[in-house]
């Protein structure tokens, strides 16, 4: 296997970094998107609908290519033209990639959180208001945990997809994530079976560990439910 062991280790690390960063950004976009779709203002609802419809309709690869070759260039060009940055400025490709991936995941998170909020019995919000709880306490202690309980399995799926979609990043930059490392190694040694199996094993490992953690979170989130 030569010196590929350390490359694989670094690849797993990069895959995890991309996944975690894009997922966190996706959660932020999801909260914003769900708030927009549930807002009393029509313009915001429209914006939220456009976001989820467009992002979920287009292939992720296409969105990633647009982010890289159209948006990032346009934004940095605009920033340079108004003197905000130097003319040879370019965004950090890692940053562009995780924001773009996060933006995509955010559309799915938006729908999940929206469904979670709509599933809340109205009485929960009534009781929290009647007790005089402030907005942060209402959402942080009363409504949020119940939304999460409803949303957690679906959010877990988004996470598992995030780990797999992280490999798309190597299309738009010189990133040595697990998949890239394995295909380079396979091409160099012609040992396709070994290295692709190794890549598969890495993803399997990530997902098995993820599922164990998700399961624990899920059990924790169901406190007070159906215990008899």
């Amino acid at each position: 296997m030569g010196g590929y062991g350390s490359q694989f280790a670094a690849g797993i690390l990069l895959t995890l970094e991309i996944s975690v960063c894009s997922y966190l950004i996706g959660l932020i976009f999801g909260v914003l998107g769900a708030s927009a779709k549930l807002s009393p203002w029509k313009a915001l609802r429209l914006l939220g609908n456009l976001y989820t419809i467009i992002v979920r309709a287009l292939p992720e690869l296409l969105l990633l290519l647009i982010a890289f070759y159209v948006l990032a260039g346009a934004i940095s060009g605009l920033a340079a033209s108004i003197g905000l940055v130097k003319s040879d400025f370019a965004f950090n490709p890692f940053l562009v990639a995780v924001i773009a991936l996060g933006f995509i995941q955010g559309a799915y998170v938006t729908e999940i959180l929206r469904a979670g909020v709509l599933a809340l019995p109205k009485g929960q919000s009534d009781a929290a208001l009647a007790l005089g709880l402030s907005f942060p306490v209402r959402w942080g202690r009363v409504l949020g945990p119940q939304v999460m309980r409803h949303a957690l399995p679906a959010l877990g799926n988004v996470w598992l997809n995030a780990t797999k979609d992280s490999s798309l990043i190597s299309i738009v930059g010189a990133f040595a994530d697990v998949l890239k490392v394995s295909s380079l190694a396979a091409a160099a040694t012609k040992d396709y079976i070994l290295f692709y199996a190794l890549a598969a094993l890495c993803f399997l490992l990530i997902s098995v560990v993820s599922m164990a953690i998700l399961n624990a979170l899920h059990i924790r989130s169901r406190r007070g439910l159906h215990i008899a």
Binding site: A127, L129, L131, G132, Q146, G224, I227
Partner: protein, 248 residues
């Protein structure tokens, strides 16, 4: 200076779209007064008492609670909700929190009470509603009657001056109605101002200073329970009472 009336509603009107739900409702509730509100389904009883703590908006008229004018600004709502506790038909306990956590959440976060102090207070009120031994359980582990008593204790933990009840016993199995009514009778004995939507006429007779009959979004008739039930003046109330008697 005498304390201001607990609740003043003056010409309150509420609509949901084209549905005019409250029509010129005016009502004065004195400190310590116990008012029972009854009326057919859809007559606006819930809407009326939900206006008092700002859970429902009203379009015109004036509401004053404990001398505080209820306006759209957040400060008046916050002060009023500190003074007003509410108990709902469907209990609305927070299912992911234990009984004790349900009770201490508002005192700690709204009043800034220390945990030890809030827990001591909660145990005192759980004792008063006779379920201190359930403090560590989750709502789903309790019977309906027990859950409603916890909901009463949770509201009392904010030490409100006024308590609103919206059909607190109508979601309960018949054998549990009594324990909740007993708790409310006891609360009435402590001098709490109470507004209670209920069709429990026995309860109304026992504790109410005044019964209000609503129909079609209006207060149609009001008076002391005995005279109101014995000699209803309007045909609408006569019909309503006949219906209640038949179903009980």
């Amino acid at each position: 200076m005498a304390a201001p009336p607990a609740v003043i509603m003056d010409g309150v009107n509420t609509s949901f779209g084209t549905n005019h739900v409250l029509r010129n409702v005016s009502l004065n509730v004195g400190q310590g007064e116990r008012v029972v509100i009854c009326g057919p389904s859809g007559s606006g009883k819930s809407t009326m008492i939900r206006c008092i703590n700002g859970l429902e908006r009203y379009q015109c008229g004036r509401i004053t609670v404990d001398g505080i004018a209820l306006t759209r600004d957040a400060a008046s709502l916050k002060r009023i909700r500190r003074d007003v506790g509410m108990v709902f038909q469907s209990f609305n306990l927070f299912p992911h929190l234990t009984v004790l956590q349900n009770c201490v959440l508002a005192p700690m976060s709204v009043k800034g009470m220390k945990r030890a102090e809030a827990e001591a207070l909660a145990m005192e009120f759980l004792g008063r509603v006779k379920i201190p031994e359930q403090a560590g359980k989750y709502p789903s582990q309790l019977s309906g009657g027990q859950q409603q008593r916890v909901a009463i204790a949770r509201a009392l933990c904010m030490q409100p001056r006024i308590m609103l009840f919206d059909e607190p016993t109508s979601a309960l199995d018949p054998e549990m109605v009594r324990e909740v009514l007993d708790t409310m009778v006891e609360l009435a004995g402590s001098g709490m101002t109470m507004l209670c939507v209920t069709h429990e006429m026995g309860f109304a007779r026992q504790v109410a200073d005044r019964v209000i009959f609503m129909d079609g979004g209006e207060i149609v008739e009001e008076g002391a329970p005995d005279s109101l039930f014995a000699a209803p003046k309007t045909e609408r109330l006569q019909r309503f009472l006949a219906q209640i008697l038949r179903s009980h």
